[in-house]
């Protein structure tokens, strides 16, 4: 698994400039959202852009590796599905953590009330889940962008956080991100935590069995 971590780290390093932009732009967006509106609602809109920023890092690397088929080297080198998934998850979660620390510090500079702290904590859970959806579902989807696209597309029809909270969409991380701008209830907090745990287990199982059972591992038609 160490080799998977090192190789993924290497791939990330090679795209450092793009990754830097992915980090800087959402930070700036978050800054403006917070300083212009200064409300909990502005946290949600800034958080959405910031989450897209952090997801772009695994999306970029994963999409490239499937487009160029380099992920097949992981299979040819004999790594187990667990090693492949966990190794990648560790690398991208490390990026996520670092990024979230900076974002959280930025938010808490504006408002460090207990409620904001709770929103930030929930935001961490949502972001970790979002990043894991990209990494762990990639063996099945063969694309880094398919899972977040699906999640965000569902939101197009639901732009009111109050509507989303009462709909089945509330189990999706994109919707939950929007709900961070609404009033925090006990039910919402539990829903975010439980759905994140359940979703991450499902993501892992889907990724694991796709690799284990070798469900069409190649992105191209076999000859």
């Amino acid at each position: 698994m160490t080799n998977i971590i090192r190789s993924q780290w290497f791939l990330c390093k090679k795209r450092w400039f793009t990754i830097l932009l992915c980090i800087i732009f959402p930070l700036i967006a978050m800054f403006f959202a917070l300083s212009l509106e200064g409300s909990v609602r502005s946290f949600a809109s800034g958080a959405m852009i910031a989450m897209l920023g952090i997801m772009l890092i695994p999306i970029l690397v994963v999409t490239y590796s499937y487009a160029e088929r380099t992920q097949l080297y992981e299979i040819m080198a004999g790594f187990s599905p667990h090693q492949i998934l966990l190794g990648k998850a560790i690398v991208y979660l490390l990026f996520t953590m670092l990024y979230l620390i900076v974002i959280s510090a930025e938010v808490l500079c504006f408002d460090h009330s207990a409620e904001t702290l709770l929103r930030v904590a929930l935001y961490w859970i949502i972001c970790i889940r979002a990043v894991l959806s990209v990494v762990l579902l990639s063996p099945l989807l063969k694309s880094g962008s398919a899972a977040p696209t699906f999640s965000f597309m569902l939101l197009i029809a639901f732009d009111d956080p109050n509507n989303v909270a009462d709909s089945p969409l509330s189990v999706f991380y994109a919707a939950q991100n929007m709900m961070l701008g609404a009033e925090l209830t006990g039910a919402l907090i539990i829903r975010i935590i439980v759905s994140a745990v359940v979703a991450c287990v499902i993501y892992y199982l889907v990724g694991y069995f796709t690799l284990k059972k070798k469900f069409d591992l190649e992105p191209y038609q076999l000859t």
């Binding site: 998977i4 190789s7 380099t70 080297y73 992981e74 040819m76 004999g78 070798k214 591992l217 076999l222």
Partner: protein
């Protein structure tokens, strides 16, 4: 079978309800170079993909390094180059090799320079791999397969797109790997003349079925010089050869031609005897087969 590093027994593979591999068996001995020969769609790449772990066979057994267990662990001792070389086009040759070094956990960084030199890509500098010619990509793919010093290399069409010089270089490289490092190679190529110079064993496959396994020595015997003979009556010719000339070491090919493997210096005597027997000779000359002729004959027989 004791020294076999790749053993396949009765492998079958169906893809979208179409059977692309049927009851295929093959054994590759340690240190040998085995050439997988067959037309497009014969199942060569499927065999290699099963070895690489891209999918499971539908039926049959696969053993790597003498064991059917822990195939993934065994794959860590192997390298593959299947179909077109898998390279990250947005990275340089060095970066591609570095990626493999990290992934395979090869400790020595100097190995990258060695490989770049070996495959002739040392002067590519910061040029991205997607700007490489097909031949350069092919050489980089071979380099990436070579980097972790594998015990077995599986190469699918490794000389595809290479110029004649490149083909010779790759051939010499594979020979060197086998002779100096004891690497076992399973290779497929359309250039049968290349394979005949390189391989110690051959496995002929057509329509997903094994036609014949044979060693280089067996091939030489089967392709030995002979008198090729065609007449207006093949059955009568065979009878004349046996009764009047006492020739028994001959073979009838597709009912059209006879190949005589004895008394090669008596071509005039054979000709006169046949003519005196009332036969009209349409072809009579001494020739030898090469791997290509042999392969075409074998595949032709199967189609007949």
């Amino acid at each position: 079978m004791g020294n076999s590093v790749i053993t396949m027994r009765g492998l079958c593979k169906s893809y979208k309800k179409q059977e692309v591999l049927h009851d295929f068996s093959l054994s590759v001995e340690r240190g040998h170079i085995c050439g997988l020969i067959g037309p497009n769609g014969a199942g060569k790449t499927t065999i290699m993909k099963i070895l690489a772990g891209f999918f499971f066979p539908s039926r049959g057994e696969l053993e790597l390094f003498g064991s059917p267990d822990n195939l993934d662990d065994s794959r860590a001792r192997m390298s593959f180059m299947i179909e077109q070389p898998i390279i990250a086009g947005s990275m340089t040759a060095r970066q591609n090799l570095e990626y493999i070094r990290y992934l395979r956990g090869y400790p020595d960084e100097k190995r990258i320079d060695e490989i770049l030199e070996l495959v002739g890509l040392a002067n590519t500098g910061k040029k991205r791999a997607n700007k490489f010619s097909l031949g350069m990509k092919q050489r980089l793919g071979i380099g990436m397969a070579l980097l972790p010093k594998p015990e077995i290399m599986v190469l699918d069409e490794p000389v595809n797109g290479l110029d004649p010089e490149g083909i010779v270089e790759v051939r010499q490289l594979i020979k060197r790997m086998q002779e100096e490092w004891g690497v076992t190679v399973l290779i497929s190529s359309h250039l049968l003349s290349e394979l005949s110079e390189l391989c110690t064993d051959f496995s002929i496959i057509s329509h997903g079925e094994l036609i014949e396994n044979l060693s280089h020595e067996e091939l030489l015997i089967k392709c030995r010089n002979h008198i090729a003979l065609r007449t207006d009556n093949i059955n009568k010719t065979a009878a004349v050869l046996e009764d009047k000339l006492s020739i028994h070491d001959y073979k009838v090919i597709h009912g059209e031609e006879i190949q005589i493997f004895e008394r090669l210096g008596e071509i005039l005597h054979i000709s006169k005897t046949l003519t005196d027997s009332g036969l009209i000779i349409t072809k009579l000359n001494e020739e030898g087969q090469n791997l290509e002729d042999y392969y075409l004959e074998k595949v032709g027989e199967r189609h007949d």
